[in-house]
């Protein structure tokens, strides 16, 4: 029988088991070595789609206009105002401490104590830029009162640094992300807070480096959770399989796949952000899950073959490899399409995930059989059907026994299930249609709303803008009247300020060379008369102010507004209260509307407003632009990914079951199982963000294999000559049990993540548990019900073929 002339993949594998086994072992050893090079790290820019025009704009100007990664300390006094010597001195100390942080952009440190924060003063024949509180903090009561008065007079200009109630002051700086070591950075910042905080002066911290830094703070706890959850998987699996011999095989397979996956990660140099460590865990759990399916089938084949290992291995491989291949391909397609998003981090995660899942194909369906074939037959005391009904296994047995007859029993319950499934599909589709993108709150969704990091961000956002977006005017060079110093472009910049402030309560301030420098200089130049707080009426005058500002301020100050001496670009900085989807979406629409009116053309293609024909308005740079770009890409990515995954599932299943109808059925089943994710996300207020999308994508393929295994088991039973009702019942007994066990193992591992300090982990674990339950219900209840109710041709034709076994099972012992 071993010399069957027909092709059998199981036979081929076993025929070359020695060289294949050695090769796979060698590669695994190499991958373990490569896995040792995996590092923990964070790439902030990698979170955003690199090809997107907003990102390109940001990259083009970030050296001049300031990096997107900013950190802010807010000092808030409990009693009185900040105008006392202690608080003022602390502001100065915070300014200095900020300047010493590694990775800080020294030209981008701002506070009341900074020499870069100045006001214009007229003196006989000159305009003088004076810092408010540099180099010395006033110590006399009169000096402090003078400072307070000065701040009050310039309150609108100081909107970013001193709160309206004069109880809060901000010290902010921008950072070069590539030079930040987030773990150390977090500790440095915490040290600063502890050093300067006292009973009356509380210090709050916000900023993207801090949000990322908290992940490093929790790193050891996250690693502990990974270890405990792996232990939970081992325990649940061991208990579930009741310690039957070779119970460890799926775990071995999972570990080897993990070695391949991590090795691949090490080879491509991707660094895991601590928060993202949930992903390798999910991938490992997937591998183990496939391994368990194989192993359970192997046990039942051992039973059927009277304890003979060789035919059991061949049969299991022949039966499991095609559906396994299909479900793994579905898994891969679920994640590989994410790499097309153009977001570098997602690209790396997608490649890693795809390689990882692909490796489980080799491990589960080639390596595991080879290992099993070398070992003596496991002593299976009694067939699954005859085992004593106790423990977890007994529980699962009884549970499976209860619904095993369900799909084949015509009646109201089955009709309700099928109609319920259809209703669920509609509900899921509606939820999918309403799925929201981007952030919902000013804080980070990675952590709990009341966590320290979010409380700090909210405290600061109560008084100060925390996000900024750039509109960049790109023009001909000075002295063209259309250069950024020409009256019309200056007016355009100032008009945008007014337009946004007038319409949008989320816009806290708009800072531009026109509004912030030219207009006040023009006023000062005209005796401080407020009627001259306006755009200079000639480019010569504007050019003079440009020069005066350049000469009177610290190096680097001018670059924040106009990056080069040719004056062909200028930054309009829009300070926002948050970066939620709604805020950004509204802002983008407003900028578009503004440009349509102010840079639009009248009849005959002539510009409506003269002097702007060569002016281009590029948007949106800054951190807000990064988030906006991600928002635009993510929704597209998610739907693109879902659609392609469904197409892939359809094609693979159509091939496996040799029927387009089967493909469509599985597409519908996937929609049913996975659009539940949107129901869950909408219900829990989860949105698609750069953080959630890789996990959601992983979830898509996560449970498709349940249905595929069940359906192929039903088909195999029909091929074996059973009546459809009998085939469904018998397939359900083995597969239903395996699916439930796998489900319990996965839930066992995932539930440990419910205790993670990172809220993101908790929500993702809940989402994945939810998804696996819907997949399990679809796979073991809805699909069998459908098959026994509608008796699709792709199953029934084997019955009509008169029980002639197809070639694939020719090696079968029976």
């Amino acid at each position: 029988m071993r010399n069957s002339s027909s092709f059998s993949i199981g036979e081929v594998i076993l025929r070359f088991r020695a060289p294949i086994g050695i090769l796979l072992t060698a590669i695994t050893c190499f991958m373990i070595y490569a896995a040792a090079h995996v590092r923990i790290g964070t790439s902030f820019v990698g979170l955003f789609p690199s090809y997107h025009p907003y990102i390109a704009l940001n990259e083009r100007y970030e050296n001049s206009f300031g990096g997107a990664e900013t950190l802010a300390f807010m000092l808030r006094v409990k009693h009185g105002t900040i105008f006392n010597e202690t608080s003022l001195r602390k502001i100065q100390e915070l300014n200095r401490a900020m300047n010493r942080l590694p990775g800080v952009n020294h030209e981008e440190v701002f506070s009341l104590a900074s020499f870069r924060v100045t006001y214009v003063k007229t003196e006989a024949g000159a305009l003088i830029n004076n810092p408010y509180m540099f180099p010395k903090v006033p110590t006399t009561a009169a000096g402090i009162r003078a400072l307070e008065n000065n701040v009050e007079v310039h309150q609108d200009a100081l909107r970013q640094l001193v709160s309206h109630d004069l109880k809060s002051a901000l010290v902010m700086a921008s950072f070069n992300g590539s030079r930040i070591k987030y773990g150390q950075f977090f500790n440095d910042v915490q040290g600063i807070v502890h050093r300067y905080q006292d009973g009356n002066n509380r210090i709050f911290v916000a900023g993207e480096p801090m949000v990322r830094g908290w992940g490093y703070h929790y790193l050891y706890r996250i690693i502990l959770i990974i270890l405990i959850s792996l232990a939970a998987i081992v325990l649940v699996h061991y208990y579930g399989i009741r310690g039957v011999a070779r119970w460890w095989a799926p775990l071995m397979t999972g570990s080897c796949s993990a070695a391949w996956g991590l090795g691949f990660t090490g080879l491509i140099g991707y660094r895991f952000d601590p928060v993202m460590l949930v992903i390798p865990f999910i991938l490992t759990a997937r591998d183990v899950s496939h391994g368990i399916q194989w192993q359970r089938r192997f046990y039942s084949e051992i039973d059927l073959n009277g304890g003979d290992v060789y035919p059991a291995v061949v049969n299991t491989t022949n039966r499991m490899l095609p559906p396994g291949l299909v479900s793994i391909l579905a898994d891969i397609s679920g994640i590989i399409f994410v790499s097309f998003s153009g977001i570098p981090v997602l690209h790396d995660i997608a490649l890693t995930g795809a390689a990882w899942v692909a490796s489980s194909l080799l491990m589960v369906f080639i390596f595991q059989p080879i290992v099993m074939s070398y070992l003596p037959p496991p002593r299976v005391e009694n067939a699954p059907e005859q085992r004593p009904a106790g423990g977890l296994e007994g529980l699962v047995d009884r549970f499976v026994g209860r619904f095993i007859e369900f799909p084949v029993r015509p009646g109201i319950a089955r009709t309700v299930i099928l109609w319920g499934a259809a209703a669920f599909v509609v509900f899921g589709l509606v939820s999918g249609q309403r799925a929201e993108v981007g952030y919902l709150t000013v804080g980070t969704p990675l952590y709990r709303p009341h966590s320290k990091v979010n409380r700090d961000i909210q405290a600061i956002a109560n008084y100060f803008p925390v996000d900024e977006g750039w509109v960049v005017l790109e023009t001909p060079s000075y002295p063209s009247t259309q250069s950024v110093l020409g009256p019309a472009p200056l007016r355009l910049a100032d008009d945008l300020r007014y337009y946004l402030r007038e319409r949008d309560p989320n816009v806290i301030q708009v800072v531009s060379f026109a509004s912030t420098i030219e207009k006040p200089f023009n006023q000062m130049f005209h005796y401080g008369n407020p009627k001259f707080l306006r755009i200079p009426d000639s480019i010569q005058l504007a050019g003079n102010f440009w020069y005066l500002f350049l000469a009177g301020t610290a190096p680097g100050e001018m670059q924040r507004y106009i990056p080069t001496s040719s004056a062909k670009a200028t930054c309009i900085r829009i300070l926002l209260r948050d970066h939620t989807y709604k805020t950004l979406h509204r802002l983008l629409r407003e900028i578009k509307d503004f440009n349509a009116v102010h840079l639009g053309t009248g009849p005959g293609g002539k510009p409506l407003i003269p002097g702007l024909s060569k002016v281009k308005s590029a948007y949106l740079g800054g951190i807000a632009g990064l988030y906006a770009a991600a928002n635009q890409v993510l929704k597209r990515t998610d739907f693109f990914n879902l659609a392609l995954t469904l197409i892939a599932v359809g094609i693979f299943c159509a091939i496996e079951f040799r029927s387009p109808a089967a493909g469509l059925l599985f597409v519908a089943a996937s929609v049913l199982a996975n659009f539940g994710a949107f129901i869950y996300m909408n219900a829990r207020g989860l949105t698609l963000t750069i953080d959630t999308i890789p996990v959601v994508s992983l979830g898509i393929g996560l449970g498709i294999d349940y249905g595929i295994y069940t359906m192929s088991a039903i088909r195999d039973e029909v091929i074996r000559g059973r009546e459809i009702t009998e085939a469904v019942t018998s397939a359900m007994r083995v597969t239903g049990q395996a699916v439930l066990n796998v489900l319990l193992v996965m839930i066992g591992g995932l539930s440990v993540w419910l205790f993670s300090p990172v809220d993101f982990h908790v929500r993702m674990a809940q989402l994945l548990i939810f998804l696996m339950v819907t997949n399990a219900i679809t796979g073991v209840i809805v699909l069998p019900s459908f098959v026994s109710r509608f008796r699709p041709n792709f199953i029934m034709r084997y019955a009509e073929q008169g029980k002639r076994p197809p070639e694939r099972t020719a090696a079968s012992m029976r």
Binding site: H164, V442, Q458, N529, R534, H585, P660, V671
Partner: protein
């Protein structure tokens, strides 16, 4: 039988697919639906004035009907018919550009009036400020102040030595240029006599309703001569001019001669001066919230504090308004003794979405 089943299966699956397609398609308009209407500025309906710290008001007048008109940034004209409680807002454009408007004034009839501003823009109203029409000014300099003699005659002054006058209701404006000086304010004591004040302590006088102007003081560039920003007469003989950092000038002979440095008490720049009808009391306002009355030659600050500069004031027996930087609109109901903001109080913080 098998074919029928296949059709059933495929039909159900196709229906689900179609639903998915519809939902994905609906996903696009749903994002557009998120784009709810933005907070558009109030159109013709009168609303309570919210505090707009990004907006400056430069001119104010109160008509005999009690209607108040305020002009400001970006061609803004605001009118109130309930003594400043609610306002309508409108932005006037000249050649698609919303030039700042710096001054507004009406004739005694309360119907014919002008608003002037940056870019030489002049807008005329003949219905008490309800509608406005652009007039050709033949000037490009910013016009900082307009004074109205009667329905046909008015003068406006501004940058680059600009003094513009009309005697035909604004159909034509005649330009008198005086050097390159900036003129900030002008005032008439009767239909013929008027004075314009500006840079380098310069005063111009007209005795023929604006047809000709003669230099009275200043007139040459000097490092020591400060500019005058505001001029007002309390009666035909007594006039006052105020300027940079507390400089002042007084006439007691109907503007034939002017004496400087007679007043004292306020070192900050004064941007506006106005005489209260009835009492004849002179009110002044200026830099960093300066606001008060002149009593026996001394500045007496009124109650109510703002740190924002006040740029224009208008008083009637019923009420007074003072407007200025960063959304400042103050109202007094006790003849200028107390002033309080008419804007709904601005937030010192805002509620953050959680």
């Amino acid at each position: 039988m098998a074919r029928r089943r296949f059709v059933t299966v495929a039909g159900v699956a196709l229906a689900w697919l179609a639903l998915f397609g519809v939902a994905a398609w609906l996903g696009i308009p749903s994002r557009a639906a998120l784009a709810t209407a933005a907070g558009q500025p109030a159109g013709a309906t009168a609303r309570r004035l919210r505090l707009r710290t990004w907006e400056n008001y430069y001119g104010v007048t109160i008509l005999r009907s009690g209607r108040a008109i305020v002009v400001g940034d970006k061609g803004l004209v605001m009118t109130s018919d309930d003594e400043g409680r609610t306002w309508t807002r409108e932005h006037l454009l000249k050649d698609h550009i919303d030039y700042d408007l710096y001054s507004v004034a009406f004739a005694q009839d309360g119907r014919q009036g002008w608003a002037v501003g940056d870019g030489g823009s002049i807008f005329h109203s003949s219905d008490g400020g309800t509608t406005w029409h652009l007039q050709e000014s033949n000037a490009s300099a910013g016009l900082l102040k307009v004074a109205v003699i009667d329905a046909q005659r008015a003068c406006a002054v501004g940058g680059h030595g600009t003094v513009l006058c009309t005697n035909d209701g604004g159909t034509t404006w005649h330009l008198h240029k005086f050097k390159d000086f900036v003129f900030f304010d002008l005032a008439f004591t009767d239909s013929n006599n008027g004075w314009a004040v500006g840079e380098f302590g310069t005063t111009l006088h007209t005795a023929d309703g604006g047809k000709t102007w003669t230099l009275q003081t200043g007139g040459h560039r000097s490092a020591t001569a400060s500019p005058y920003f505001a001029i007002a007469f309390t009666n035909a003989s007594n006039g006052f001019a105020f300027g940079l950092n507390g400089v002042d000038m007084v006439t007691t002979d109907g503007g034939q001669s002017w004496q400087t440095g007679k007043l004292s008490g306020e070192p900050r720049s004064i941007f506006a001066a106005a005489t209260a009808p009835g009492s004849g009391q002179l009110f002044v306002a200026g830099a960093d919230g300066t606001l008060g009355a002149l009593e026996q030659g001394k500045f007496a600050a009124a109650a109510g504090s703002t740190k924002n500069s006040i740029i224009a004031i208008a008083l009637t027996p019923a009420y007074g308004l003072a407007v200025g930087r960063s959304g400042t609109v103050l109202r007094s109901e006790d003849h200028g003794k107390h002033w309080s903001p008419v804007t709904s109080s601005g937030p010192t913080s805002w509620q953050v979405r959680r």
